[in-house]
């Protein structure tokens, strides 16, 4: 029990971030018109490409001789980049359509 409390204590800032982010995420898109559901989802998908940062860190820490880890990390970087770049470009293309005639 005490160890768990200690764990919470030492990760308290992260726990705060999580709780506040949950409410922020809900608040921030609360009043979106249904027309924008698809672009918003697509934009959100681009944002969850932040996972690329984890992939970069993993990749950068792999010792040069470890080819299995290098290849897995390399794949992760490619996939993460696809998510980020593709996501933002597709979203932009969708929104471009909306703007043209506004």
């Amino acid at each position: 029990m005490e160890t768990i409390l200690n764990w919470i204590q030492s990760h308290i800032d992260i726990i705060y971030i999580v709780i506040l982010s949950v409410f922020l995420g809900i608040e921030v898109i609360g009043r979106v018109p249904s027309v924008l559901h698809t672009p918003l989802m697509s934009g959100a998908i681009a944002i969850n490409g932040v996972v690329i940062i984890g992939a970069i860190i993993v990749m950068g820490k792999v010792e040069p001789g470890n080819y299995v880890a290098l290849i897995i990390g390399f794949l992760a970087v490619i996939l993460g980049t696809l998510n980020v770049v593709g996501g933002f470009v597709v979203t932009d293309r969708m929104l471009e359509m909306f703007k043209k005639k506004k």
Binding site: N6, G25, I29, H37, N48, G49, G54, G73, F98
Partner: protein, 488 residues
């Protein structure tokens, strides 16, 4: 100095994500919002590459990192630029799956590190943490870390597998599939996976490392089975849900590396994605659990079997009659649906609209919130064909207009104009807001056949006296209609 600079980069990144999402939810600022988030992401990525250090050591393997970034960017841009507007939803699903896979691969590599530590230590002592670490506090930290790795693996893999199936369903390569007792099997599989992961987190030894890969495979199977029974028309909701899964998987990475931008970005998307999923469900008058368990898809056959509605008489309309009817109307409203998207008829539809406008007919479009394959899909499609933004009417607005409308042309829409949603309490779509096209003087429905729509139920609208049917593929039918009107 450099590390604190990195913190600032991450701060900027988190801020732009929040502002970007906020701006994305308003039509005027949406495009800028997307750009803002993209800039923030770039800053965070570059910051990580050049400034990140752990225990005083910078990251290595730059050539691999830049190679991956380069390849991913080239493929991503090409794919995103080349994809047809109609295929956009499945593209989005594909990208989401990539993110999930990325999160899962991170977990695989991180677990590789840990399992190495296990093999060098005396592995046969039970209770894995005692083999590497002494203090109980550290062991709690290690268990926390392993749990995070497992969560990242499971959620990421489910998101990846699910997104791939959703992608396949949207482009028609994967058909609906369900076997009896699938829901129960899915639940058992999920529970089994989670229990195994929980057990492994506390009892990891060099001997049961293999369980990690079994968990990965089980998650993969679960992701596939989770999405398979759900009907193609529900995919938007599923993708939105998987989007929030990927967000949570990314947040697991944030936990692992104590990385604020991954944490805020991931949780933000996780929460926003969940809300968005619920909003989409609401637009279809379904509950999230209903979609989650996939009972709509599963019960679809029984719903249509139970429905023994009278196959009344419908009447067909000839092309020339339809042409005359529309030409001499004062006001025409077009209701586009799934059929228009499938047939890619948006351009010829716009042509028809222009032609009628030249003849002095007032033409507009009525867009149901869930028309097409995704909420807002019709707007994007029609915008691609240069249809003016102010010709599109939202449902409430359109429902006021129908009373004064002479002709409503329904193009491949079915359930969203089914009056049973208002009148028949036993109907599966009862309570769903619909476009009340039956209030117009005449309704012309273009469909390929009399087959029921996605919900698998008859539409009494088609049998009403003021309704007439114009059978055929939306694009072909509209082309003929345009030719007919030109020759009038």
């Amino acid at each position: 100095m450099e590390l604190s600079l990195l913190t600032v980069c991450y701060l900027i990144g988190s801020l732009t994500f929040i502002i970007g999402l906020k701006m994305l939810s308003h039509p005027d600022s949406a495009r800028k919002g997307n750009l803002v988030a993209a800039v923030g992401m770039t800053i965070a990525i570059l910051g990580t590459i050049f400034l990140y250090e752990e225990e005083g050591k910078k990251l290595g393997n730059y050539s691999w990192i830049f190679g991956g970034l380069f390849l991913g960017t080239v493929i991503g841009v090409l794919a995103a630029k080349k994809v047809k507007m109609t295929a956009m939803p499945e593209m989005v699903s594909l990208f989401n799956g990539m993110g999930g896979a990325c999160a899962a691969l991170i977990s695989v590599n991180e677990f590789g590190h840990i399992s190495k530590m296990l093999t060098v230590s005396t592995a046969d002592i039970p209770g894995w943490h005692t083999t590497i670490i002494v203090s109980p506090e550290e062991s709690v930290n290690m268990i926390g870390m392993v749990i995070t790795i497992f969560l990242g693996l499971i959620i990421g893999t489910v998101s990846f597998a699910g997104s791939m199936i959703a992608w396949g369903k949207l482009n028609g390569k994967v058909k609906d599939f369900a076997f009896p007792g699938q829901q129960v099997f899915n639940l058992i599989l999920l529970a089994g996976t989670l229990i195994t992961a929980g057990y492994l987190a506390f009892n990891l030894t060099a001997n049961n490392v293999i369980l990690f890969y079994i968990i990965a495979i089980a998650s993969l199977i679960y992701g596939v089975l989770f999405v398979l029974p759900i009907g193609g028309a529900d995919m938007p909701v599923v993708i939105s849900l998987l989007n929030s899964f990927t967000g949570v998987a990314a947040a697991c990475g944030g936990f692992l590396y104590d990385n604020q931008v991954m944490l805020t970005g991931g949780i933000l998307v996780g929460a926003a994605g969940t809300l968005l999923t619920i909003l989409m469900c609401k637009a279809m008058n379904r509950s999230l659990t209903n979609v989650l368990i996939g009972s709509f898809g599963g019960n679809k056959s029984s719903a249509s079997a139970a429905q023994t509605g009278p196959q009344g008489n419908y009447k067909e309309i000839s092309l020339s009659d339809a042409a005359v009817c529309m030409c001499y109307a004062n006001k025409v409203i077009i209701v586009p649906g799934y059929g228009l998207a499938v047939a890619q008829a948006q351009h010829v539809c716009h042509e028809l609209e222009k032609l009628l406008e030249e003849k002095g007919v007032n033409v507009s479009y009525a867009i149901h919130p869930v028309a097409g394959r995704m909420p807002g899909h019709m707007n994007v499609l029609l915008a691609e064909a240069d249809v003016s933004y102010d010709k599109l009417q939202e449902m409430e607005q359109a429902n006021d207009e129908f009373k004064t409308t002479d002709v409503v042309l329904v193009l491949g829409a079915n359930d969203v104009v089914n009056p049973a949603a208002k009148t028949d309490a036993s109907s599966p779509i009862y309570g769903m807001p619909i476009l009340e096209v039956e209030q117009a003087k005449t309704v012309i429905v273009n469909k390929r056949s009399m087959k029921p729509g996605y919900a698998g139920i008859e539409n009494e609208l088609f049998f009403q006296p003021k309704t007439s049917m114009l059978f055929g593929d939306a694009k072909a039918a509209l082309q003929k209609l345009v030719a007919e009107i030109k020759s009038l």
